[in-house]
Symmetry: C3
Subunit: 361 residues, 3 copies
């Protein structure tokens, strides 16, 4: 792993994770961050490491909009500047901690991990359903003890729905049998799939107890640093596309934020139309989603163990990997651009070409 | 640790560990393996890592004699060749996983970890009592979080019976006091010991409740990669050797299989004559053996901790180490031959010579 | 971490930790030690690693004043010389384990970790209150999974009492507000602080339930390798110093002994005058002290995590760090002298100067 893309907005937390009046600590890209809200409602994100003896500021206490370190009492304002040192009159000009640009953006607390001058609100993701009266969901979080890019790989190839999620999200081998359309986006890829005439997955039941054959469809953008925004749904098999009537529709927002090179935060939700179902429906969908995402995690953890047993072993690129290979190449280009060096690599060299043909022994 | 001897049969499992219709996963020499039986009863051992995204095949599902990966659905036949890729017509010729020669040999599932062309059934161990109507036993397994060679050292010097197993297998300091005969074998060493006129160890009781003094004897071959085959027994002190009559006799088969450089699988059993005792006797012997082998493990784990605190610290070779020093040298020769280099070393340089005499400070 | 100061007495154990007739094992400076008392009452400290196969001698058995290894039965006398090898007549002259000079010194079991020829009883610490009829205490021990020098830093800057121990030992921000006097000692530093007119800390209550304002004072020597000896106390605010009358007085003895580069033994006690209070008072003080020292440990563990996330990141030296910077420089000088090289470093370069002034971005 040659590093992380830094010039990007990362999800640091769900808005509800920030405790009123308190602080919240989370490690992102290997850096400890402390987050809180000022009295005006602004979100503050500082390096969670006092410049003095490196204690986490999050173990200290809020004082108004400031924070006081719980080790030796240095006080920092929301810009990261030290404004008080007990027993000391002159505050060194170098007494400060790093400040990260931060905003609450539709219930996602977003932090910019690169050069603060370049923090561009225009690059915030369009996770509209996270805060929209027409959509309803329960927010989800899972912690992974694996590198982030193995999880991105998973999200970039939905053929795994047929196998990892045979009894949850998938329900049919037809998903894997159908090749999706993959389009290039400026900051990622767009993946679209139509799966006609299949049984409904178990996971639809709480919202749409239809038992006949259905036509499924989904289309998602997977963009830097690692955000998935997806529309998906189904209608009775053979019925008109966009013809209204019976059916079900979802909007899902998911984001991966590396904690360290070897661990990852996974934020996820899948929203349904607010005018369908009640609180129990929303809860049932969340439970189904969580069960499925735990299936992913079990598989990816097992995969990561295999990677550790034989680091650097090349994988065999297949046609189904088109989206993930394209996305990996994009990450590599961005990493290389950020470090100013050409050789950056996420994990192993990527290739749109299938691996060189060596017949099996 | 300069590596493992690869051109050898290793015990991968007890036969009963292979679940009917299912699969069994075990890591051997740092490589993940998946094992199963075909409908014809043959044992299959494949690399437990799909060539596509490196997921363990053992997390997938059996389909007839094949296995289908549980991540993206690639299907492999028992030779390791990929025979189906969902959504893909052309299967790359390089789509395969490594196959390991494997056989069930007298209830031991054996795999050949080296070049498959050289897998030689003539080199399978003579663990006859593992599957013989005249012998009865309960199979044992222990997992060690230590390098394999520390356990081999233990098995190559039975003087430890007097101390580690004073209240279980040993029962007398006389075992350590008597030097065994050590003979060179083509692939290992033969160790023989006669211990006259000692009290019976507790561990004999379930089978032979004799309370007088006994003459004990044992002889074992310890051969590459790390297999112990031992005949042992006892008779009333002073009675004729091989003169029939009262006494007790055992045959023990034990094998070490490195899991990684730092952990080991230990397969063991000690069989008694089937015409003596009942099921409770067999169970009692097994429990006694297990208790004793846990004593070994506690000692070896403590020894391994000391080795980690001071890696490379030389040990003091003593006359009682004759068998283990010879075996270590054999391993080093074999490792050097396999890698084509002379300097291979198991852990530290071995020597038949006692260490240079430096008086204590 | 460039190593440990070796030519020094370290606390290996509280006297009561040595079991009568048995042995006690503890790892110090990365070396395993076994300790016991001879029939004459002398303390023996040997390397806890048999010279033969490196098993810990502490897993063996005492035989008179000797110890017999529990693996293959080698017997060692209290000087570390091997005096018996089962089955072997000639004992190699090199068969011995390292002996460490050891004494019980006022209930502290002290071992000299450097060249035994230089073990100088004159350098034992003056921990008189550990064994004195006029003082009473309960001995304490905590294990730290952090490097020792982070704990030494903590003990060298008591301004943390105002923040880490606001509700236990501290009770007022005034402690941090007042700069202590720091004096150089041949082997360490002396730190003195007077804190007038503050509320009494909770922790005094069991001994002195005075609720008015008090004048607090403390003075301690922190000397190599890492020993704190402190007098402290308080009297009603404004009353005469040393004028007798009402008040409270303590003597505290604390010592850090590195277990490994990444873990530490912490021995501590704080004694009160024996003519004040009863057993419950002593117990109450101990419980208060233990609660406070757990507060330190939580903070230092969190600090150590931050250090691991960004190893080598420089800290910002402030005036309050005067004592710890001086002590670190002393350790570095001693380390350099011991290894004969100038560049030894505890963790990061120390400096009495504040860090170069770089204005915050």
């Amino acid at each position: 792993m040659a590093g992380f893309v830094r010039s990007a907005w990362y999800v640091a937390a769900w808005e509800h994770e920030l405790p009123p009046g308190g602080m919240f600590a989370r490690t992102i890209l290997g850096e400890p961050l402390v987050l809180w809200r000022t009295s005006r409602g602004d979100v503050v994100a500082l390096e969670d490491r006092c410049c003095h003896r490196h204690a986490p500021l999050s173990r200290g206490a809020r004082e108004g909009d400031d924070v006081r370190c719980g080790y030796h009492g240095l006080r920092f304002d929301p810009t990261g500047r030290c404004v008080e040192i007990p027993g000391t009159r002159a505050i060194p000009r170098s007494a400060c901690v790093r400040r990260y640009p931060a905003v609450v953006h539709r219930r996602w607390v977003m932090v910019w991990m690169g050069d603060g001058e370049r923090a561009d609100p225009a690059r915030l993701p369009d996770n509209y359903s996270c805060d929209h009266p027409e959509w309803r969901y329960r927010p989800g979080y899972l912690h992974y003890e694996t590198p982030w890019h193995l999880i991105a790989d998973n999200l970039l190839d939905f053929s795994h729905l047929s196998y990892v999620h045979a009894r949850t999200l998938g329900g049919t081998e037809r998903i894997a049998a159908i090749r999706p359309k993959v389009e290039r986006l400026p900051d990622g890829v767009r993946v679209s799939r139509e799966v006609p005439n299949v049984p409904p997955p178990n996971y639809y039941r709480p919202l749409w107890p239809y038992e006949g054959a259905i036509d499924r469809w989904l289309t998602y953008d997977f963009t830097l640093p690692a955000t998935l925004l997806m529309r998906s749904g189904a209608r009775p098999a053979g019925s008109c596309q966009d013809g209204g009537g019976d059916g079900v529709e979802f909007h899902s927002c998911q984001a991966l934020t590396p904690e360290t090179a070897e661990s990852t935060h996974y934020f996820f939700m899948e929203a349904h139309r607010a005018d369908r179902g009640d609180a129990a429906t929303t809860e049932g969908l969340y439970e189904g989603l969580l069960a499925a995402f735990r299936e992913d995690r079990e598989m990816i953890v097992a995969q990561a163990r295999n990677r550790r047993l034989k680091p650097g072993e090349p994988m065999l690129a297949l046609p189904m990997d088109e989206a993930l290979v394209r996305f990996r190449r994009l990450v590599e280009q961005r990493l290389a651009a950020e470090v100013g060096a050409p050789g950056a690599s996420v994990d192993e060299p990527s290739s749109d070409q299938p691996s060189p043909e060596q017949p099996c022994p």
